[in-house]
Amino acid sequence: MLFNSIEFAVFAVVVFFLYWFLGRRSGRSQNIILLGTSIFFYGYADLRFLSLILFNVIINYLLGLSIRRCKSESKQQLVLITGLLINIGILCYFKYFNFFYDSIIDLLAVFGSDFAYSSLKILLPLGISFYTFQSIGYLLDIYNEEIEPCDDPLAFATYLTYFPKIVAGPIERAQRFLPQISHARQFDYQLAADGCRQFLWGLFAKVVLANGLENALNPIFDNVADQRASTLLVGAFLYLFYMYCDFSGYTNMALGISKLFGIRLSINFATPLFSTSISDFWRRWHISLSTWAMDYLYTPLTFIFRSYGKAGTMLAISITFFVIGIWHGAAWAYVAFGVLQAIYFIPLVTAGSVNQVNNYDDVLIPSPVHALKMLFMLCIIALAFLLLKTESVSGTLDYISAIVSADLFSRPEKFPGMLMMIFALFMLTEWLQRNREHALDIARIALPYRHIIYIVLLIMVFGLGEFDNSAFVYKQF
């Protein structure tokens, strides 16, 4: 059930009425409704793996309690490591089995083995990368005494299965989510209205821009050899923009829907296309993943390597991005993606400016230096994202070498002018609204204008939108 489908619209309306009218007496009944509808939502999409996520809920609930119950440090450590192994083991089994299996067969073939290749493929359970990371964070937080284990199985199950975030995040922290559902929620008009605005902005980004860009890009990536170099160059950037519209669109819809139930999810994007350095980019792109990696990987690693100075920092960054890379999927292209990110960090680490925060929050027009930095960032990020798109290092190299040719200065083809104009307006709005939670945070605008904006957006969404594209890209990770 995609957020931009008719089924979901009906589902959301039903949940809304159940939640606020049937469940209004207590937080407990509201949680029961959220859990029940989330299980329905998950089962509707992926009935086979419903038992897996429920197993994950039960096992992590029990592990969380038992870490705290252990008196000695060493026993706590034992329970923690058991928990990590179970979570990572399940994730690796489903996500990486095929990769290792294929790699081993390839390796054997190198040594002349004719071991028969069987098409043993394991399907990826919906949302597993996201809920596994949440579980791991939960256990580590308990072990580090950052939080107390959740002693309410209903609340904990709601936390892990909550339907607005189950498909593709954000990766929520227990300490942020659980307090919000520990008591009865009251309907808050302002929050609900803001949720609708945020959902509308996400829907616009998804069905008009992401799906429109995807339709324009598919023929290009399907047949790279036949394209003009200029088309390929523009196409590489548009793929990055497509990823942003798709994933930020999904996230805004998730956050917007959640606000209708009085629950705030974490911000996942802060206009990453306006980044001026690689560390800036990772502070703004898929924030719930990058802060997760920061807290549970980078920080412990830098702590371990802290006496090695810059080399230690670089090592910690490399390992962190290696994990972020393979988190996206099991393929060498994703490893290369992680390695490339780490390489991008080298100049920052040597210059000691990893921590530098770029401040251009209050300028209307960026200075030439800022603009150039942004452009440079777009180039190197677009390059890295080609790895995600082509899913192979050689495919990316082929693509780049096809760009370097004589007709680079010809006119790019195949990009509908209307779509490009709407995208430009989208980016302009994102720029002007970059200090707000989402671009359609316009409660301060006078009433009639506000509704004119809604109507224009609704006309674009339902009039020009494409509703066929099967899924959000990030669902596959």
């Binding site: 980078y298 802290r306 920092t313």
Partner: protein, 80 residues
């Protein structure tokens, strides 16, 4: 070394790391009050403290720090 001297020394380390002194040192100071003191620079500050006062922290101890007051308490407890 008394608490005030310690506080001054820690302040120097923070200034050295974040490259500015645009903050007011107090017992309630937290990382968010200091521009540039994020998770990336955090470890440089910690390493600076460890070297300066010849102490070793555990990760778990660092995770529990709430503000400057608890950081100073931790350093003092280690130095004794």
């Amino acid at each position: 070394m008394n608490r005030d001297e310690l506080s001054e020394a820690v302040k120097a380390i923070i200034i050295d790391t974040v490259k500015h002194d645009d903050f007011v040192m107090s017992e309630e100071l937290t990382a968010t009050d200091v521009s540039g003191w994020d998770s990336l620079s955090h470890m440089s500050i910690i390493t600076g403290i460890e070297q300066k006062f010849s102490v070793k922290f555990k990760l778990k101890e660092l995770n529990k720090l709430k503000n400057m007051s608890s950081l100073l308490d931790l350093i003092l407890s280690k130095m004794q």
